[in-house]
């Protein structure tokens, strides 16, 4: 049974016990999004947690499983990690999306490739992989464009790869 359906079914049953039908329908949306599917990307960049990072050796290499559709410099080599922008850079609010296979647990994960912006090219650990990547006309899966384009400071520094959730077939 698929993860999403399980979320949906459990949520619907428990809600049905406690609420009226109208509230049940209105609440379905929250059940579907569910914390398990995708942690919300923070909207306010200034409120984002800032903390030291310890990138693993694996995430500083291009063949790391999460990098299956990345294009650019690995932030893990530039003072950040696969989930952290380097100090003084700003994450892009818009991203391209990849679906990568994790050999450690056999699952496909949906990942968000944000760019970190506002400084010149990091220049280290260049990596260009293109699983399920498509040209610019399907922008959601395209890694050729500068995803810093909508930032106030739109220069491109490096790229991260953040797990959003498990992909369903």
């Amino acid at each position: 049974m698929k993860t999403l359906d399980r979320l949906f079914e459990n949520g619907a049953r428990s809600l049905a016990k406690r609420t009226s039908r109208r509230s049940l329908l209105a609440c379905l949306g929250q059940v579907l999004t569910g914390a398990a599917l995708m942690p919300l990307l923070p909207i306010d960049r200034t409120a984002r947690a800032q903390e030291p990072v310890h990138p693993t050796p694996a995430e500083q290499k291009c063949d790391y499983w999460k990098y299956c559709a990345i294009d650019g410099f690995l932030c893990a080599c530039c003072g950040g990690s696969s989930t952290a922008c380097p100090p003084g850079t700003q994450p892009s609010p818009i991203t391209w999306i990849g679906t990568c296979h994790n050999p450690a647990d056999g699952r496909d994960y949906i990942v968000s490739y944000n760019d970190c912006c506002g400084k010149v090219s990091c220049g280290d650990c260049f990596c260009d992989r293109n699983e399920r990547e498509t040209p610019m006309y399907r922008l959601s899966r395209n890694n050729d464009v500068n995803w810093c384009m909508a930032n106030a400071d739109s220069n491109y520094h490096c790229s991260v790869s953040v797990i959003l959730g498990v992909a369903e077939k």
Partner: protein
């Protein structure tokens, strides 16, 4: 004056020289004159090489290279993630690019810079909204109408549109929303098509002021989930050819307002399909008079569409027959990511590799003429008139 100054210095040096010679000392060198080089007489074997400078992206540039003398003729600066193209008359290199006021940051200004190819000097600019589409090297991120009167510049914010510019008056005339379809494939004096995720082309017709008079959407000719086409199309005498990841060639006739979709043909045999694939940045080049299509091909699977070719395959555009396969591994210069061919009777095939070589082959025989190592940092796009 420089000439006299240098001359005086040389005389002083000669007078004070303590060197002793076994035989008679050669006469002193004459004073030299400092000049500025000219580009020299034009040649069909010139190639404009767009170097994206991936490691230092605000520092991209175009190298003009002579395919006969193997010499760099000169450079055009192109800013960050440039869109570069030549005017139809070959006299101008137009560049849409981004500059920040403090180098890598600060106030963003996007401009179309116009460079005179006779002098490699910038002769003018048109400031555009700060939304030129910043993407990797393509021939369709800045284009000209066939008569050179309009310049089209795709914008991406991430909403998709394109600017219509008047390069003579150096003005922005208009902005055309393209409904999520991207890039500009121009035709004639006033038609521009963009390519859509739905597998269609959106075609917009403009009036003489650059205002839209009509738009139409073609039938779908590819499926992005099954076999996407490269957006880097190959210009044809009557339209464009869109090559797919699995090697299908979709020739589109642009001569009528509604694009004509020809039956696709395949670069690969059934046995080769899926195993041998086109790939790279600039996926094909056509010698128009001889109808020869050159395509970089590699062995690879899903996700390998940006890998460069280990071979160049040569096709006859009319018969669709493959005429040659030229392996390039033995040159140890990397794989072919971009190809371009000169249009003359003794044509050269130019190949940019991912290790920054520029290979030059005889385009009729495949014979290697020259390997220019390190032509720039990351040469990506090859342009010629």
């Amino acid at each position: 004056m420089v000439k006299n100054g240098l001359g005086m210095l040389l005389l002083a040096l000669a007078a004070g020289s303590k060197l002793s010679w076994a035989g008679p000392q050669p006469p002193p060198l004459p004073a030299e004159h400092l000049t500025v080089a000219t580009v020299g007489p034009k040649s069909p074997h010139w190639i404009y090489v767009v170097d994206y400078a991936y490691v230092n992206e605000i520092d991209s540039r175009v190298w003009l290279f002579d395919g006969d003398t193997y010499r760099r003729i000169g450079q055009i600066d192109t800013g960050f993630f440039p869109a570069v193209n030549l005017s139809p008359d070959g006299k101008t290199t137009a560049v849409a690019t981004t500059y920040w006021s403090r180098g890598g940051h600060g106030t963003r200004t996007d401009v179309v810079e116009l460079n005179d190819n006779n002098t490699l000097s910038k002769t003018g600019e048109i400031v555009i909204p700060p939304k030129h589409a910043q993407t990797l090297a393509m021939m369709f991120t800045l284009t000209y109408s066939a008569d050179g009167k309009f310049v089209y510049v795709p914008y991406l914010t991430p909403a998709a549109s394109f600017g219509v510019l008047d390069p003579a008056k150096k003005r922005v005339l208009n902005e055309i929303d393209t409904a999520g379809c991207t890039l500009t494939f121009p035709w004639g004096p006033n038609r521009v098509s963009s390519i859509c995720e739905s597998g269609r082309l959106l075609t917009v017709t403009l009036d003489s002021q650059g205002k839209e008079t009509s738009r139409t959407t073609s039938d779908a000719f590819f499926n992005v989930d099954e076999d996407p086409v490269f957006a880097q199309a190959v210009p044809l005498p009557d339209g464009y050819a869109f090559v797919s990841f699995l090697g299908q060639v979709h020739e589109i006739d642009f001569r009528q307002p509604k694009p004509g979709i020809r039956t696709p043909w395949s670069l690969v045999s059934p046995a080769e399909k899926g195993a041998w694939r086109p790939g790279g940045v600039q996926i094909g080049a056509l010698h128009r008079a001889r109808n020869k299509l050159y395509v970089p091909m590699h062995k690879g699977g899903d996700g390998s569409h940006k890998e460069g070719g280990s071979e160049i395959w040569v096709f006859d555009l009319k018969s669709h027959q493959r005429e040659a396969r030229w392996p390039i591994d033995s040159y140890k210069a990397g794989t072919a990511i971009s190809v371009q061919v000169s249009q003359d009777a003794a044509p050269l095939l130019f190949i940019a590799t991912e290790t920054s070589h520029l290979l030059i082959l005889e385009a009729l025989t495949g014979k290697l003429k020259h390997d220019e190592k390190n032509l720039g940092q990351t040469p990506q796009l090859l342009l010629n008139p």
